[in-house]
Subunit: 239 residues, 2 copies
DNA sequence: CGCCATATGTGTGTTTGCGCACCGATGACT
DNA sequence: AGTCATCGGTGCGCAAACACACATATGGCG
């Protein structure tokens, strides 16, 4: 068992951490440590989903990709969740593009194992149901957010959500990348990111982003950030 | 059992119809016939979900409502599905606004019964999982559709989806209502609906809409319509 | 050190949809 | 038959974001 995190008493992934210790111990042999590289593609539309990924300090983004020049993030998955939830719902081919938005560590589990372990209504099953609902809520909120809120507010929200999941003040990120997530052009991101930088809320250069003033970003961001975070924390709290 | 559709051999709702006959017979005593009125509110954010609704020829829309003047449809539920899927996922309060977009018949089931009947991994459970995934796909596609496609194409898509679920060429529908679904102003709907009417694709007057040329609408609509329909039909076929 | 792919900054003109204001038409109800 | 709330049509100014076209900066690599 070369890559199994056998010595780790408590998982870094909060979804796994919400499992009863006994359940987690049972899953442990099936978990494999992996490192996710920036911009790595996890699933493409039509792909067979071979593994479910539980990020530790990495981030996986789910994208609805219209074509090469029009994509939009529909879900952000960090240590509060899992990528590959379709498998749990009985569908083993991906409908969305899943790619690594923040490099870092994750553990993964074979789809067959996920199916086996969630094929009866127990702690794991219930947890995945709750997580599905949480991601669902995130999706519908972001849908409205993308429609109604200014790019300013949305960028701030997105940066906050990213920082929450990656856990550090600095991370790799280009304007081009952000534009793909927010479904706008790079020039648009340039404009509002420039404003944030001049306001000393963030600082960036050649793909290196730093959050300087979280409180300031929270003020600029729309309510969506708070609501999504509250819902996410709630489901984990109630396990 | 006053309102039970006891004599109905096969259900009009395709989700229920996809159940093995034996399972359906077992659920039958728990199903209650209801008539849903146009614009009736099924759930509001924060509401406890008391029933799950299986439309026959009615339509329930799930809305993300920013405030009174900014709402957006995030899911459309007709005879292929069920409103109240949150209950299945273990959450009994609604996060979205669910309202009747097309008046008609439905059957409903108490939330407690839904929980009981889906609390083990059987046909019903698996079917609801697949439906959850289908609605999920619809949500993410529409999210991108709302972002990238013209109002023209989106209105055509929405009308087609509505007609598929309501089953007739004519139905009640105002521009104001459409604007709430599509997340745009009434004036915007007026503009493109006027074009469709002049092109003899639809005809409408004072809340009465008629589809005159389905094929024409399909040409104008974006691909999203076809993709969503294919995915929806697929999951029911594979039941 | 110099090159170059990558990342960022900026300008111009156009389109889409918003906000507001208002008019006209009509169906339902008294 | 008259009233009135509802529904539909339209014009105008504005803001956001688009498409396209460049200019500039810089880290990494030979």
């Amino acid at each position: 068992m070369p890559n199994a995190p056998a010595l780790r008493a408590r998982p870094a992934n909060r979804l796994l951490a919400a499992l009863p210790p006994k359940e987690y111990q049972r899953l442990l042999p099936e978990l494999e440590d992996v490192t996710l590289a920036f911009a790595q593609v996890i699933y493409e539309p039509g792909d067979t989903i071979r593994h479910a990924y539980f990020p530790n300090d990495s981030i996986v983004s789910l994208l609805a990709a219209e074509d090469y020049h029009a994509s939009l993030e529909v879900g952000m998955i960090g240590n509060e969740g899992m990528a590959g939830i379709s498998v749990f719902m009985g569908v083993s081919t991906s409908r969305t593009l899943a790619l690594v938005q923040g490099a870092g560590a994750a553990v993964r589990m074979k789809s067959a194992v996920l199916r086996r372990e969630s094929d009866h209504v127990g702690s794991f099953h219930r947890l995945l149901h709750r997580y599905t609902h949480s991601l669902w809520t995130q999706m519908s909120l972001c849908s409205a957010c993308n429609r109604f809120h200014t790019l300013n507010a949305r960028l701030a929200r997105w940066l906050l959500m990213t920082q929450d999941r990656i856990g550090t003040d600095e991370f790799r990120l280009t304007q081009e990348f952000m534009s793909n997530m927010l479904g706008v052009r790079r020039e648009g991101v340039n404009k509002v990111a420039g404003e944030l930088q001049r306001g000393k809320l963030i600082s960036y250069s050649r793909g290196h982003m730093a959050i300087l003033n979280r409180a300031g970003l929270e003020r600029i961001s729309c309510e969506c950030y708070r609501i999504i975070k509250a819902d996410s924390d709630l489901f984990l709290g109630k396990g």
